[in-house]
């Protein structure tokens, strides 16, 4: 009770802050493109050029318009109609089907027509044009090489979109498919990350780019991106919604709690996805605790709303898993990866043609690599199936990671980490506005963010370097003299060995979440919650000069196998039951062919069983 009232207080506070943000940062962030120098310049330059050569341009535009294939024009008109009518089914068809089909056919290597060009087709509908540009730039980023104008303009367009959603008079009435809502935010963060990486490569910038970057101000700044995400979260009151739903509040109560914005699926889903994007941004910036903290209300389960959009489901688990790795909670990371990898391998059968299939597969491969790392550092018996696939994919590194000399193993950890880690970014731009500082920056050879995180990770791996060797020796004994055990280790005296034993003990006790589901009524059901769990089947204690060792053996696990197969059988049974009865064509014919078949299979089964038992 005190908890919820506290929370309300907290949020009441937040509401004020929200307003403050609107006044201060939000306006700077959102307004900068319109008011501050750079875009004005660009805009006025464009205007001048336009005035000077308006005739010629008009003719060029007409020619360009004429060159748009009719099927594309028709598609845009339909798409626009679907958006205007809020017809989710048709929007989805255009968004997932038509757009991608036409991209393959006409725009595999070039941009879609500029929004200005197709504007007459959609009655200059400004909202549709913003959405169209969203798709336009996403296509540029994914298929072509975005130049600096694309990068600045895509930011501008995102701001316009979010501005429209957040700062119109009351909630907007548009409806968009969940998949698209996720893609909008996902792409927003991707472009932010892509810009940060591109920006940090000072060497490759030409004069014009340096000038534009020096004036860039808030374009793609961390504050502006966080502002968008937090504004969506607060506008939609998504956290309050999740808490209220969990507490079993009635529909009327929830409606009241979430307000006019939060009632709309559009805002609710945007708020929900914003939490997940926040997780991602914090990971990219290296703040793993905060990343998990913002997720504290989001439930990770097979039924959670995030599973409704597969790309979101996969992405969430990837970043949560990585956070756990960074917190050295390897058992939790393993659990997260196993759960999602199992899901992906089951899904693979149905989704091979989804346009995001490739992306999901790539993320999955990286998660197998991360899983392999966790498995090497903290072996578990969670899932043989996943272990086997990981071995197929990264077998070479896996065998090197298990080498007894840690210095031999390190390069393998390094390879997998760099391959699979998130694309870390620097929070701040190089000092473009200050030529002297920029020259110094250029000289200094700053370490790339990924390399910094790698170094931190490897320091931890080195720290537990002797663990596998010690463990393998201990497995051979039930008790052994400490000095004798030290003799087995290369250049280690008894004191070294005792210290390494303490490390071993520490490594076999990690913080982990005991159960996946939050415990009933617990205050902090969040992802950061955890208890000390034993992660090793080997245990020991040092008694003066003697080391005593015991091993925990794990009984065979049947339940998972039975559950999977029972579920499978149920599905098969359902299918059979749902399928129409066979038409009685020629009476007697089907039964005549069926029985020999089934009896044949049962009899062969019998032979097999008989052999097995014999």
């Amino acid at each position: 009770m005190t908890d919820s009232s506290q929370q309300r207080m907290m949020w009441a506070n937040d509401a004020e802050i929200d307003e403050e943000l609107h006044e201060v940062d939000m306006n700077i962030a959102m307004g900068s493109y319109g008011q501050e120098g750079m875009y004005e310049d660009v805009q006025s330059r464009i205007d001048n050029v336009a005035l000077a050569a308006s005739m010629q341009q008009q003719m060029e535009q007409q020619a360009a318009f004429a060159s748009i294939p009719d099927v594309v024009k028709r598609f845009i008109v339909h798409f626009h109609q679907a958006v205007v009518n809020n017809n989710l089914e048709q929007i989805t068809a255009a968004y997932e089907g038509g757009w991608n089909r036409l991209t393959e056919k006409y725009y595999a290597k070039t941009e879609w027509p500029e929004a200005e060009l197709i504007a007459p087709l959609v009655n200059d509908d400004p909202i549709f044009l913003i959405l169209y540009r969203e798709l336009y730039y996403r296509h540029v980023y994914s298929r072509l090489n975005p130049d600096i104008d694309d990068r600045f303009h895509s930011y501008e367009n995102s701001c316009e979109l979010f501005n429209y959603l957040l700062n119109s008079d009351g909630p907007v009435t548009h409806e968009l498919p969940e998949q698209w809502l996720w893609d909008i935010l996902d792409e927003f963060i991707y472009q932010f990350q892509s810009f940060s990486v591109w920006r940090s490569k000072v060497k490759s910038k030409n004069e014009d780019e340096l000038v534009l970057l020096a004036d860039g101000g808030q374009v793609w700044s961390c504050y502006s991106v966080l502002n968008v995400l937090y504004s969506l979260i607060q506008k939609s009151r998504i956290n309050e919604y999740i808490v209220a739903t969990r507490e079993g509040k009635s529909e009327e109560e929830i409606t009241e709690i979430v307000g006019e914005y939060g009632q709309k699926p559009l805002y609710r889903m945007l708020g929900y996805f914003s939490i997940i994007c926040l997780l991602r941004v914090h990971v990219l910036l290296g703040d793993f605790t905060l990343a998990l903290k913002v997720m504290e209300n989001v439930e990770l389960s097979q039924k959670a709303p995030l599973t409704r959009v597969t790309a979101c489901h996969v992405s969430t688990y990837y970043y949560v898993g990585f956070c756990y790795m960074a917190l050295r909670r390897y058992p939790d990371a393993t659990r997260i990866f196993v759960s999602i990898l199992n899901f992906i391998s089951r899904m693979r059968r149905y989704h091979t043609r989804s346009y995001q299939y490739d992306q999901i597969n790539k993320t999955a491969d990286r998660m197998y690599a991360l899983f392999a790392i966790c498995h090497a550092l903290s072996p578990s018996r969670l899932d043989d199936n996943i272990v086997n696939i990981a071995k197929e994919k990264h077998g070479e590194q896996i065998s090197r990671m298990s080498r007894s000399s840690i210095e031999d193993a390190i390069p393998a950890f390094e390879e997998l980490f760099i391959y699979a880690c998130p694309k870390f970014i620097a929070a701040n731009a190089p000092p473009f506005e200050d030529p002297e500082a920029l020259a110094a920056y250029f000289q200094e050879q700053t370490i790339e963010p990924a390399q910094r995180h790698l170094a931190l990770f490897l320091s931890d791996v080195r720290g537990q370097g002797s663990v596998p060797t010690l463990r393998s020796f201990l497995k051979l004994y039930t008790s052994i003299d400490a000095s004798k055990l030290a003799g087995f280790l290369e250049d280690a005296d008894e004191e070294d060995m005792v210290q390494q034993m303490m490390v071993l003990k520490q490594c076999s006790r990690r913080i982990g979440r005991v159960s996946i589901a939050p415990t009933e009524g617990s205050k902090n059901g969040g992802l950061l919650e955890g208890d000390i769990i034993t992660t090793s089947d080997l245990d020991f204690v040092i008694d003066g000069n003697m080391v005593h060792v015991v091993e925990a053996t794990v009984g065979r696990r049947y339940a998972g196998w039975f559950i999977r197969n029972a579920e499978h059988t149920q599905r098969v049974l359902d299918q059979i039951r749902d399928s129409p009865l066979p038409k009685a064509k020629a009476p007697g014919a089907p039964p005549a062919s069926a029985p020999p078949d089934s009896s044949g299979s049962t009899s062969s089964k019998k032979v097999a069983w008989g052999k097995a038992s014999a």
């Binding site: 703040d287 605790t289 960074a326 050295r328 370490i447 931190l456 004191e495 208890d531 040092i542 579920e567």
Partner: protein
Amino acid sequence: MAATAEWETPSTRPDEIENLVSGVDRYNPSNVSILEDYLYHQTRSNEYDCFANLAILKLYQFNPQLYNPDVVVNVLVKALTAIPFPDFNLCFALLGERPTLNNQDEPDPVPTLLPLLTTLHSHLLQCRYPKFWALFKSSECESLRDNYTVECAGFEDSIREVVIKSVRPAFKKISVERLSTYLDLPAAEVATYVEKLDWKVEGQDVIIPPNQENHIEATVVRENVQFSQLSKIIGHAAKTSAIATA
């Protein structure tokens, strides 16, 4: 109570800080002094709040002009006492883009202290306690001691607690001599120190009473089926029986 509860929300954290670190106010640069004051409060009164300190580093990350090297060192010193939690590395992860300080009169102490702190951290993480103390007491660490850890109330005792945390689960009996090198206390003082923990000295050895972790037992781990794993099967059965009765 989960083991992480105290780490996530220390009971000593004032409401003001709680509100600050849990909301968007944590990004407001004008709040940095509140958090910095709280850090100094922690060092004076031997409290620790990893989350609040990370919030300082986050503000430095976004607003390089706020960067205060003394604060950074203090945060890291505090994080050393949190081992085996990974706080030190978590703080370190936010430190990447250290700006070169324009103020030349006062040289930034961080570049010289960072490698030392990192080495101290890795000694602790690898349970090399004698090496930790040797380095910490050496002339190399003089400026760290004189300017920082001396201000940090109970720093050495907090490190001793780190030692105790890893000795307790690993030993039933440990020689006084060995423990004295771990704790950096003369053998004579070890007895009084361990008394507080209810450990006993018998001759040359310290006896550590049985606890959950130093009391080892061979076990067979049985499979544990969660009810939620069966929900699909049961749900299906209920549904089909409903259909059957209908």
